[in-house]
Amino acid sequence: MTQPANWSALTAVMRRDLMVVMRRRSDILNPLLFILIVVSLFPLAVGPGPDILGRIAAGVIWVAALLSALLGSERLFREDYLDGTLEQLTLQPQPLALLAFGKIAVHWLLSGLPLVILAPVCALLLKLPIAGWSTLLATLLVGTPILSAMTAIGAALTVSLGRGGALLSLLLLPLFIPLLIFASGAVEAALVGTAAWPQVLLLAGLSLLTLLLAPFAVAASIRVSVN
């Protein structure tokens, strides 16, 4: 297959997904609203004191991000599966992993990136000390691609099951644990004044690795699911 054909197919997949979601903005807004709600419930539950809130802020934001990723994950391939698009994608001469990468990238653009933009508001609500802000944003920036890629694997595996929701959470949560640990650990390190960059670098490395391997897992899963 020629390079331009690959490129053309990749951009077609990405443009299609972008356009579809832009016409259904609630799909972008609902997960963000969910995060805001979770974040604003926490002070009500544990008390508004800045010492306790500031300490748990990064963890709460990350847990909220994971949960909202799970919440919207089912939709990632559902429509495409139902209307036959997924079937057509597997029949393209282009490598399916490439197209899967396109879908992961769009998913990140529409769920990960908005989260990074929303994060300062969450940090403010949870009174995260200023020292931790840049690290929080950095972990979100390098960590959310992992979230999108892993979610895509799980969604592709369960797309042909009518009721994949609870199963999907079961499959994905264990895989999210390193992400949660390193991300909140990095912010904690920044708060106590030690270097946070090793964890951020580690996350970035994991992120690259995931983005490299996940498209192949997603492609294999799609092929199994459209069977």
Binding site: A9, M19, R23, G84
Partner: protein, 208 residues
């Protein structure tokens, strides 16, 4: 006469039940292969296994002229359309056609012209979700007017189409076979058009 497709001793099972076994046929340029059978006989499974969506239990499929074995390259030479139209309800008819063409790396399609051809004049910029099932199907069928694939594998292409749509489609089939293409299709409707080289295969309960 050149052979396009050679299928030998194909067998398939679904949920442990044998749908067909020892199925062999060849398809030459200009052939139309009509696969018949009752609901659940395995027509769709047969078509899907031809394009590799369903794993083969046994048998070989070769695609001529290069005698390619079942592989990625062969997808360039086939066009498959299943039950589902692969049309996005959120996008307009025009966008659907353009993106579909871009996906298959066909440059410079005249989407307006294509939509007029399939009888969707005036509906080009409505979201596909607002169109009827037959009209959505027509959007998907525009592929047949620009595709360069010699082999078409169509699962129930006439579903949801009205008589004029069916006539239009059969006309296009005739053009395609006249240009040396071949078609494998299933349909419950009888063809009103008599292709010159019509082959029929009937599958039922594991026998042919």
């Amino acid at each position: 006469m050149s052979t396009l497709l050679d299928v030998q001793q194909l067998a398939s099972q679904r949920a442990g039940r044998t749908l067909f076994a020892d199925l062999s046929f060849t398809l030459n340029a200009g052939d139309v292969l009509h696969i018949e059978g009752e609901n659940g006989a395995g027509k769709s499974t047969l078509l899907r296994s031809l394009v590799g969506l369903v794993e083969l239990q046994a048998g070989t499929i070769r695609f001529f002229p290069e005698q390619l074995p079942f592989a990625q390259e062969w997808r360039q030479h086939t066009l498959f359309m299943g039950h589902k139209p692969a049309v996005k309800a959120e996008l307009t008819a025009l966008e659907n056609v353009r993106l579909q063409a871009q996906l298959t790396a066909v440059a410079n399609v005249d989407a307006w012209q294509l939509l007029e051809t399939v009888g969707l004049l005036g509906l080009e910029d409505l979201p596909a979700g607002q169109l009827s099932a037959g009209q959505q199907r027509r959007i998907a069928l525009t592929r047949l007017w620009y595709s360069k694939a010699p082999l078409w594998i169509l699962d129930e292409p006439f579903t949801a189409l009205d008589t004029r749509g069916i006539d239009l489609l059969q006309q296009r089939f005739a053009e395609h076979t006249a240009q040396g293409g071949a078609i494998v299709m299933t349909s419950h409707q009888a063809l009103t058009w008599r292709p010159e080289q019509l082959k029929r295969i009937r599958i039922q309960g594991g026998e042919l």
